[in-house]
Amino acid sequence: MLKTEGLGYWYQDKDQPLFQGIDLEFDVGQSYAILGHSGSGKTTFLSLIAGLDKPKEGDIKLNDRSLKQIGLTNFRRHDVSIVFQAYNLFTYMSPLNNLLTAMAITDAAHAGDKAYARQVLNDLGIGADLAERNVQHLSGGQQQRVAIARTMCCDAKLVVADEPTGNLDEDNTKEVIQQFQKIAHEQGKCVIIVTHEPDVANQCDHQFRLENKQFVELA
């Protein structure tokens, strides 16, 4: 579904790219983990395939259409859903309104459907009481589950997550990874997770390591 063709990126110095000539393919119904040393460029790579930045070299294609053609805003609205380490929820809203807002912006099929949003939250352990509270009054694990619920509510086929378990304890981490597997296998989406925890990576269907400016698939 998502393809990178000769993808390369550098910040200041063209002679010292973070990665270069990357040809990768990601499919729906699968989960991918990206590992690598700190500073190797994992987040940078993710920001490219999430449509938050433009490649310096090469191209990214969604179903054989270049992101340039689709337009980054359009791509972000309809084709990709992002989960951040810092949750990135609207702090002045309840979990329910966070979901409703995201669904409205992304023109999701269930946009405006409160009952559906409540159900999704409930399935992730956010009960009716928590769903109406301000998100700032939720724990880190709960907030991350709200962020995952947001992803589930939206129709984007591509889900990218940058260290989604970075702030969570063991139990919460397990729970969150399970949910990502669900998104890949049950919702039939393509999930790409950047992580530095081997345990998390092991649970994904595929693992890549960013090393020496190249992505190496691990067995």
């Binding site: 987040t43 920001s47 999430a50 938050l52 930045d53 805003t73 359009n74 791509f75 972000r76 609205r77 309809h78 992002i82 951040f84 810092a86 990135n88 929820l89 609207f90 702090t91 002045y92 809203m93 309104n97 807002t101 995201a102 409205a104 912006i105 992304t106 301000n134 940058d162």
Partner: protein
């Protein structure tokens, strides 16, 4: 309209911040409203002043031409008498037909001698400085001790319309008193001679066959001391001035004065049209015999005073609007910086940048709506305070300017002989009179629906501009930089 809901959620969730924003906006809008109120009050007051003060055009003998004629005659022949042609009422009637003239007053003055009563003698020692007497226009043959001011109606004279003189008993002279011997006398003269409304008194003509004439008192008036000391002939006490119909005054002067007047004063309904009335009037009269002079000094003084206030209010409105826009823009810029993360999340979800701006605009709009309501209540108070302050201030300014410039033909105190040229024209005491009027003009400050609509417009414009200025931050914001650190 998802951004609308977000705006509401944000304003509601951050109540403290919203209240602060409302307070700041109210303060700004209150000043805008104060300016708007003074502005509209000044406009109203100016049009009111037009109606109240009015302006006049006076038809009288052409003194300058007569004076020149006299001079040329002095050099060539022996006669040195300056002859003034009295105004023919038939000529005046022609001028009265012009548009914008709402009415006219005929003035014919002379003097007679007391017969059945005693005149009031001057208490002050001013009697010695008789000088040139009451300007040439008052009858050339005036030698009597009682001044007769013949008019169409007392209410049309400056002394009465300015409230310097007031009817205290009975009634004033009206157009219906034409061809009667009715008279209105001064209070002091009345009490000294035990005269009251309905009594008769006898005067003796000062010219011709010196007939005795019986007059019937129909009213008693009180002359204010300030006006009389300045406006009446120096030789007699103001209490010795009687008002009659101009026809009676003409009778005292002699038969050849029938159907004439010293001057005819036309009231101009729209003071702004004074000069065009004068131009049109000049075409109807023989300008070598008559002259038309205008007096809109009172109107001009009030107008200048109000223009001052209006100009000042205009400046306030714009200064405050500009300052308010800058202040609000800075606040919005700070707010946008503080909310970069939230904007980043919106952009990462694929929200259009213009909708993010629209959300901020909606939030500010909600704040402004409340602020307009608050300012509407508070602005009246501020406007009242400012309004009274401003009028008293500008009245003093105009007073200084008008007295230093001096009104043409008006300001000179009568007196020394040479001033016969211009002394009588328009009457002295003009300056004091007009400033009194200006101070009397109150700025009535009321908040009308129009004011509130204007205020709303300003609020909208200020909000729109400040969001536009601040939106650069949103347009340049890169979600990657904000979200990934």
């Amino acid at each position: 309209m998802n951004f609308f809901k977000r705006a509401w959620l944000n304003v509601w969730a951050k109540k403290g911040r919203s209240v602060l924003l409302i307070l700041v906006s109210s303060a700004i809008l209150m000043f805008v409203l104060a300016g708007l109120l003074i502005q509209s009050a000044a406009v109203k007051a100016t049009s009111q002043a037009k109606a109240d003060v009015g302006a006049t055009v006076t038809l009288s003998a052409n003194r300058q031409a007569a004076f020149k004629k006299m001079q040329s005659r002095t050099t060539s022949s022996k006669s040195s008498k300056m002859t003034l042609t009295p105004v023919k009422l038939s000529d005046a009637a022609k001028v009265a037909q012009l548009s914008n003239i709402s009415g006219y007053n005929v003035t014919s003055s002379t003097s007679v001698n007391a017969s059945s009563y005693d005149t009031v003698s001057m208490s002050t020692g001013m009697g010695s400085s008789t000088g040139g007497g009451p300007g040439g226009m008052k009858s050339s043959t005036s030698t009597g001790d009682t001044q007769i001011d013949g008019v169409t109606a007392t209410s049309l004279t400056t002394a009465f319309s300015n409230k310097q003189s007031k009817i205290t008993k009975g009634r004033g002279i009206t157009a219906a008193d034409k061809n009667t011997n009715n008279v209105v006398i001064e209070k002091d003269l009345a009490s000294q001679n035990n005269l009251t409304v309905g009594d008769t008194l006898t005067v003796k003509e000062a010219t011709g066959d010196k007939d005795k004439v019986k007059l019937k008192v129909v009213g008693i008036y009180k002359a204010s001391s300030t006006s009389s000391s300045a406006a009446s002939p120096m030789s007699t006490d103001p209490a010795n001035t009687m008002y009659t119909s101009y026809t009676l005054a003409n009778t005292f002067k002699g038969s050849k004065y029938a159907g004439t007047a010293d001057s005819v004063t036309f009231n101009v309904s729209n003071p702004a049209k004074v000069s065009s009335v004068k131009t049109a009037g000049k075409k109807l009269i023989n300008t070598s015999k008559y002259s038309l002079s205008t007096d809109d000094a009172s109107y001009q003084t009030v107008k200048a005073s109000m223009d001052n206030v209006e100009g000042f209010a205009n400046k306030i409105v714009w200064l405050v609007a500009i300052a308010g826009t800058i202040i609000l823009a800075l606040i919005v810029i700070l707010m946008i910086r503080e909310r970069r993360f939230e904007i980043g999340v919106l952009l990462s979800l694929g929200e259009a940048r213009w909708k993010v701006i629209a959300q901020f605009f909606t939030e500010m709009l909600m704040v402004i709506v409340v602020a307009v309501a608050i300012a509407g209540v508070g602005g009246k108070f501020v406007g009242n305070q400012l309004g009274s302050q401003l009028v008293s201030q500008s009245a003093t300014t105009t007073q200084t300017t008008s007295s230093s410039t001096g009104q043409p033909g008006g300001g000179e105190p009568s007196g020394n002989g040479g001033s016969g040229m211009r002394g009588g024209n328009g009457g002295p005491g003009n300056t004091s009179q007009t400033t009194k009027q200006a101070t009397d003009t109150k700025l009535e400050v009321t908040v009308s629906a129009v004011n509130l609509a204007e205020l709303g417009g300003f609020g909208l414009a200020i909000t729109f501009l400040s969001i536009m200025i601040a939106s650069g931050g949103i347009l340049r914001l890169e979600p990657k930089k904000v979200l990934i650190s």
